[in-house]
């Protein structure tokens, strides 16, 4: 019988310099010479991505912390945000997480 496939997990690049600034987090990427500022929710996701997590795990954690999130909306936003982080090279490539 085939094994049940696990959902893909993502993790932030552990070598990137960053610092929490009150609610926000600044992330510096010396390789691209770019600097990114994550807002409160982005900063929380960055925190969660210290360990490899799936989109569902991140969305569930946020839903538990932020009251009133419409069902499904959080997941879509998390997915979009993670795609953005991935596009900027701030996440480990899939398979290395």
């Amino acid at each position: 019988m085939a094994e049940e496939s696990k959902p893909a997990t993502l993790r932030r690049d552990p070598t990137l310099p960053f610092q929490r600034m009150d609610e926000d987090t600044i992330v510096v990427d010396p390789r691209t010479r770019e600097v990114h500022l994550l807002n409160e929710t982005g900063a929380r996701i960055w925190e969660l991505l210290e360990t490899a997590s799936s989109v569902d795990e991140v969305a569930e954690a946020l839903e538990a912390e932020y009251e009133g999130a419409a069902p499904g909306a959080m997941r879509r936003e998390v997915e979009a945000f993670l795609a953005e982080l991935g596009g900027k090279g701030l996440l480990l490539p899939k398979g290395r997480a």
Partner: protein, 390 residues
């Protein structure tokens, strides 16, 4: 903190092209909240060259026997963790010559584990091919600043007192570029190389390197003053600012706030010396405590020295406050302290520089106004005149 620019040239992020506004925002946050976002660690005072102007100590004399031992690698690890815990993001490793530290790569490993953005200051002579390639493997290495003291081997090697250092430094710089590490050249302008100022700039420009020109020569932190003999005099500075450094000899007036002269020392900046003293900046030899005796956070938060610096008002700067040139002055705290013995004192050379910059800025403004008066009126000006005639 609008209009305030608390970062020194040395604390610019090397090679950072796209994030100036965000970094400015982070610096502003650090200043406001007193978070040591920028830290320098002097990992060793050992050096393979003997620069005439060195501010550490007189390198032609044997080191004083009473010197404390330098921080061990373990102690540097500990202070790096403490700095990170306190909010540090930008870490500068300086010396001495950092590449003479036997555990430099272990320190870089730890900085990477701590998610610190690292910049290095080196004389470049020990950047052998393997070293440059290894440095390039650090994803968190923001860049390397390399000091140069002339446009020719004769002049540069005369300053370092090491034959071949000019060639070796340039080789090192090229190796860094070859492996993709961002490099910033740092030209220290002094008596020995003032006549090569233009050539030094041209060399950097031709080879496509970012550079800065630093006029800071101070007394040494061992209390000796021989380094000052390398300083250019007022008349040379004025000639340079009217000639090859014309673009640097003027600036927009920058009035200090009512509160104080803007400076990130002890607010967003901190430095740890090779023997563990905690200073407001690496160029300001005023110890607020020592990390061998107290946790860093305690020194940062409550040392008398840092409390005093943070509480300074413009009225405490008795000479600078009423000075006519204050809006044109870079107010180098290290120079002021080593020249006068007081953090709020002055260094006459810095005062002279401010006066020259003020004069040249006024002259330039007058030239611009005169040019504008002779230029044909623009469309809006013509319309404005017609409106008056009606």
């Amino acid at each position: 903190m609008s209009g305030r620019e608390p970062r020194c040239q040395d604390q610019e992020v090397i090679g950072e092209a796209h994030g100036h506004a965000l970094i400015g925002q982070a610096q502003e946050w650090a200043y406001r909240n007193q978070v040591p976002l920028n830290a320098s660690i002097e990992i060793t005072l050992r050096c393979n060259i003997r620069c005439l102007h060195c501010y550490n100590f007189d390198r032609d004399e044997p080191r004083a026997a009473c010197d404390e031992p330098e921080l061990s690698t373990e102690e540097i690890f500990r202070v790096m963790s403490e700095l990170r815990e306190a909010g540090c993001l930008f870490l500068l490793l300086t010396g001495g010559e950092i590449l003479s530290h036997p555990d430099l790569f272990q320190l870089l490993d730890r900085a990477r584990e701590l998610n610190l953005s690292v910049q290095l200051l080196t004389n470049g002579t020990m950047l052998r091919p393997g070293i440059a390639a290894r440095l390039a493997s650090y994803e968190n290495l923001q860049g390397v600043s390399v000091s140069l003291y002339g446009a020719t081997a004769e002049v540069h090697d005369g300053v370092t007192q090491m034959p071949g250092s000019f060639r070796r430094t340039w080789e090192g710089v090229q190796r860094l570029r070859h492996v993709g590490v961002a490099v910033r050249l740092k030209f220290i302008l002094m008596k020995q190389n003032a006549h090569e100022a233009e050539a030094m700039r041209a060399q950097a420009a031709e080879r496509g390197f970012h550079y800065l020109i630093d006029l800071t020569i101070t007394s040494r932190h061992d209390g000796t003053h021989g380094s000052l003999e390398t300083r250019i005099d007022r008349s040379t500075l004025e000639q340079l600012y009217r000639g090859p450094l014309r673009d640097l000899g003027h600036r927009d007036a920058f009035e200090p706030t009512e509160e104080s002269f803007p400076c990130n020392c002890a607010r967003g900046n901190v430095a740890i010396t090779a023997t563990g003293d905690v200073q407001p900046c690496i160029s300001v030899p005023w110890a607020a405590g020592n990390i061998r005796e107290q946790p860093f956070a305690e020194i940062w938060r409550s040392s008398a020295v840092f409390q005093q610096i943070r509480s300074l008002k413009i009225a405490d700067y008795t000479k600078c406050g009423p000075c006519d040139h204050r809006a044109y002055c870079a107010r180098n705290r290290g120079a002021a302290l080593t020249a006068s013995g007081s953090y709020t004192g002055v260094d006459p050379f810095v005062c002279a520089t401010a006066e020259i910059v003020h004069t040249l800025s006024d002259e330039r403004a007058a030239e611009s106004a005169a040019r504008a008066a002779h230029e044909p009126p623009t469309g809006p000006q013509v319309r404005a005149r017609l409106a008056v005639l009606r």
